[in-house]
């Protein structure tokens, strides 16, 4: 019954810890901006289904904001559809609404092109980038490929025979990673045999059952199978190695000029008041500075990548352009 006690204790310990955190600096007044206590009436839209990555992120943040008395009575709601562009469209059409924010990430950028959405992320008010996650190139443990070089050699030789699977539809992170990888090693991305699985839940059995040659995923997604020795990571795609899989080299270390990270952040509707934008950014900053958030990052295996306001806007524009280029080359945008 060890785990019961542990979970119980950590829940009990969390409360005083949070109180201490807010006592040393992160007070409700700082967060509120206009000094009026916790913010009220905030709504966070999650543009895909409950239980997904966006949903988990948004709900964790909302909970921490409540616990830290940064905001009170936050409503998190899901508005699914068309890879997140239904939610994006709604956000853009709520122009001027200072009480709404939308959880988003790289996947929504891709979907805004593949789904021919009129609304684009560049039309929103960027608030903050929160977390990022390195991608991973994984193979079943019995795969003949021991290194990314083995894989690239085999891949270049037989484009149709080497299949790559990912848990996202075209335009999503698991699709963009192998396409950019192909481009970086001189393979024509339009010839890549990409098999789109319906989320990690379908991709994993295909990998374990050796139905595909290799898979592209977030590095944290299959960590248990990697630990259990059922899957092998050939490379991670971020700028640095990841502590979860310390032995896996980055692509750059392996001599491939590609850095690719999936990321998540929040945006608000266009044309909101500056005061509202500052209110959101202050609240997110206060949330980011809390001990509870650091704990959450660790627990979920997320990498902190906090960037706010104009810097995030610039980042968003670059990503938008990069995704548009890749998808245009593939004839998808």
């Amino acid at each position: 019954m060890k785990f019961h006690r542990r979970a119980f204790l950590s829940a009990a310990a969390a409360v005083p810890a949070l109180a201490a955190a807010s006592a040393c600096g992160v007070t409700a007044d700082d967060a509120g901006g206009d000094g009026g206590g916790p913010l009220t009436g905030l709504r966070i839209m999650v543009p895909n289904s409950p239980g997904g990555g966006y949903d988990t992120t948004a709900r964790s943040i909302a909970r921490i904001m409540e616990d830290e008395a940064i905001a009170k009575g936050i409503e998190v709601f899901n508005l699914e559809g068309a890879g997140g562009t239904v939610g994006l469209q709604r956000t853009v059409s709520e122009s001027g609404n200072g009480e709404l924010a939308m959880q988003m990430g790289l996947g929504v950028v891709g979907a805004s092109y593949t789904q021919n959405s009129e609304a684009k992320l560049t039309g929103t008010t960027p608030l903050a980038k929160l977390v990022e996650e390195s991608g991973a190139i994984v193979v079943p443990v019995n795969s003949p490929y021991q290194s990314i070089d083995d894989l690239v050699a085999a891949w270049s030789a037989d484009l149709a025979g080497v299949t790559v699977g990912g848990g996202s539809s075209p335009g999503g992170p698991d699709h963009l990673l192998p396409m950019q990888l192909a481009g970086a090693v001189g393979i024509d991305p339009t010839k890549v045999n990409y098999v789109s699985y319906d989320g990690g839940g379908e991709l994993l059995p295909a990998l374990l059952g050796e139905k595909i040659s290799f898979g592209a995923s977030g590095v944290g997604e299959f960590i248990d199978q990697i630990d259990a020795g059922q899957l092998r990571v050939l490379a991670v795609s971020g700028a640095e190695r990841v502590s979860l899989v310390p032995d896996a080299p980055t692509l750059v270390e392996s001599g491939i000029d590609l850095e690719f990270t999936n990321w998540r952040g929040w945006v608000a509707p266009p044309e909101i008041e500056d005061a509202d934008r500052d209110k959101w950014i202050d609240a997110l900053t206060a949330m980011h500075d809390s001990a509870a958030w650091q704990e959450e990052l660790e627990k979920q295996g997320w990498t902190d990548a906090f960037v706010t306001g104009d810097d995030f806007a610039q980042f968003l524009e670059e990503q938008d352009q990069r995704v548009a280029d890749v998808l245009t080359e593939l004839g998808l945008a």
């Binding site: 019961h4 409950p50 239980g51 068309a82 789904q115 839940g201 295909a206 059952g209 059922q230």
Partner: protein
């Protein structure tokens, strides 16, 4: 036997008044969510996540287990009484369920659904206890060609329920297949049949089609004939199942459970397919074939057992692989992670007490569901006493609410009405509805798996044939297709003998 002992420990852990109360709250919420159209169990679990942070993990999972099973059960109530399926896994229940209700047998339909859900839930949870390792091994070997073979089997089996007119049956099937192709193609990312309408890009939701064709179509059809048939109120007969109802329900319950569990346990299985296969099986082998289409109890008992068994089946990959095969399982996985528990291949070893408590709580939740719902049946059935104009107005209200709740898009209401008119036309011209729904659900699945098979084989057609599992399935298909021929030859031989003897 180790499993059994561990399970007993699980029961010991949850049988406290506090935990039972939590289980009761869980099944109540689950049933309510299932009854209200458009609200999914995944949403309910997600909303309750913050509430459970103060609880121990065991208690949280007792509650989630209750919601999960409750939602599967609750969906049958609106299907049977209001002709409005709340989720895609209870679409098939509408076919016979609402007909039974109209004939004054709503009580029996609800009862066979409730008891069937209980029986299937119990059998499937037992299967979860004993065959999880084997099932998981098997599930991993399945690939796209195997799933494709299953889809082919389902489509071939559908041919037997095309109705009296083959032409009309195929027409209906094709309409379903066409609606199924609307939206973005998952392989190439190209838009199909969307005509530039952004709302169509993600396809047409099965629930909207089913509610439009069934509920709105039926309401319009009834309204169109109200002049000739105004005053009649739906009769409400005896509420409890009679002897023959029991006799006719047992088989479907057991067969439905056997179909549902494996489909739930394999990653691309789902809950819709086993409900179809169950319906088709019951219809084909029933001794009361003439009742099908007019309210045959087998047609409710089988599919309702199948969808609950499938719900239990989804626990297999979730617990053993950390694989969420549906949205509810995904939220539960997120909850596991919140407690610092990593589901996956090591879960049974690392956290065995928690796993067994969760499984024990599924048994308890299942029993509570039955206890909670049986007494409610007479109350629900009273709904049908409402005079027709008001009843159908209520159905239209529920249908619109459910359709809107799916994506919160006003466009969906327009779509619902259009499909309602299609439903009206189909009734007017005698087109059967089932093939349309089958085409709509199976078409996209078959296409996806077929194309995936070809992608995996690098475009080689032999990729479609697959391995031993798909061979077995194709053999079954051949048997189904050739069976009538065998009968024909036998009869001809018999006739020849008679002729020779004469």
């Amino acid at each position: 036997m180790d499993n059994l002992n561990a399970l007993m420990d699980g029961f010991a852990a949850i049988l406290t008044p506090g935990n039972l109360l939590i289980a009761l709250i869980g099944v109540t919420i689950g049933t309510a969510v299932g009854v209200l159209p458009g609200l999914g169990t995944a949403m309910a679990v997600a909303l309750l996540l913050p509430v459970t942070y103060g609880m121990e993990p065991t208690q949280a999972f007792i509650m989630f287990g209750g919601i999960f099973y409750g939602g599967m059960y609750g969906g049958s109530t609106t299907s049977i009484l209001l002709n409005t399926p709340g989720q895609s896994s209870s679409v098939v229940t509408v076919l016979e369920g609402f007909k039974m209700a109209k004939n004054g047998r709503g009580g029996q339909a609800l009862a066979t659904a409730a008891i069937g859900s209980f029986v299937a839930g119990t059998i499937a949870t037992l299967a979860l206890v004993f065959v999880t390792p084997v099932t998981v091994q098997f599930a991993i070997t399945l690939g796209a060609p195997d799933y494709f073979a299953i889809m082919v089997l389902a489509l071939v089996a559908t041919a037997s329920v095309l109705g009296s007119s083959r032409v009309r049956g195929f027409a209906s099937l094709l309409v379903g297949l066409v609606i199924g192709t609307i939206g973005i193609d998952a392989v190439t990312g190209q838009q199909r049949l969307t005509y530039g309408v952004a709302e169509l890009a993600s396809g047409v939701d099965v629930i909207i089609v089913a509610v439009g064709i069934f509920a709105v179509g039926e309401a319009l059809w009834t309204a169109a004939r109200l002049k000739t048939d105004a005053g009649s109120v739906i009769p409400v007969g005896k509420v409890w199942m009679g002897k023959s109802d029991w006799k006719r329900s047992w088989g479907p319950w057991l067969r439905g459970s056997a179909l549902g569990f494996p489909f739930g346990a394999v990653p691309a299985g789902g809950a819709e397919l086993p409900t179809f296969l169950s319906y088709i099986t019951e219809r084909r082998f029933s001794k009361h074939k003439e009742e099908f289409g007019n309210g045959a109890i087998e047609g409710v008992a089988g599919p309702e057992a199948a969808n609950n068994a499938s719900a239990a089946g989804t626990m297999v990959p979730m617990l053993a692989l950390g694989l969420p095969v549906n949205a509810t399982a995904a939220v539960m996985l997120a909850a596991f992670q919140n407690y610092g528990i990593q589901p996956g291949p090591l879960l049974f070893e690392k956290q065995s007490a928690l796993v067994w408590t969760l499984i024990a709580s599924l048994f308890v939740g299942n029993l509570l569901l039955l206890v909670l719902n049986l007494p409610l049946i007479p109350v629900w059935v009273k709904l049908l006493r409402i005079p027709k104009p008001y009843l159908y107005a209520g159905i239209l209200f529920f249908a619109s609410m459910g359709a809107y709740a799916v994506n919160a898009q006003p466009f969906d209401l327009f779509l619902l009405l259009t499909l309602g008119l299609v439903g009206l036309a189909m009734r007017r011209f005698g087109l059967p509805v089932l093939p349309l729904i089958v085409g709509l659900i199976l078409g996209p699945m078959a296409e996806r798996q077929g194309r995936m098979s070809l992608q995996l084989s690098g475009g080689d057609l032999t990729g479609l044939i697959g391995g031993p599992t798909s061979w077995t399935i194709y053999a079954i298909i051949a048997l189904i297709a050739l069976w009538p021929l065998v009968g024909l030859i036998k009869r001809r031989a018999a006739r020849d003998r008679v002729a020779v003897a004469a």
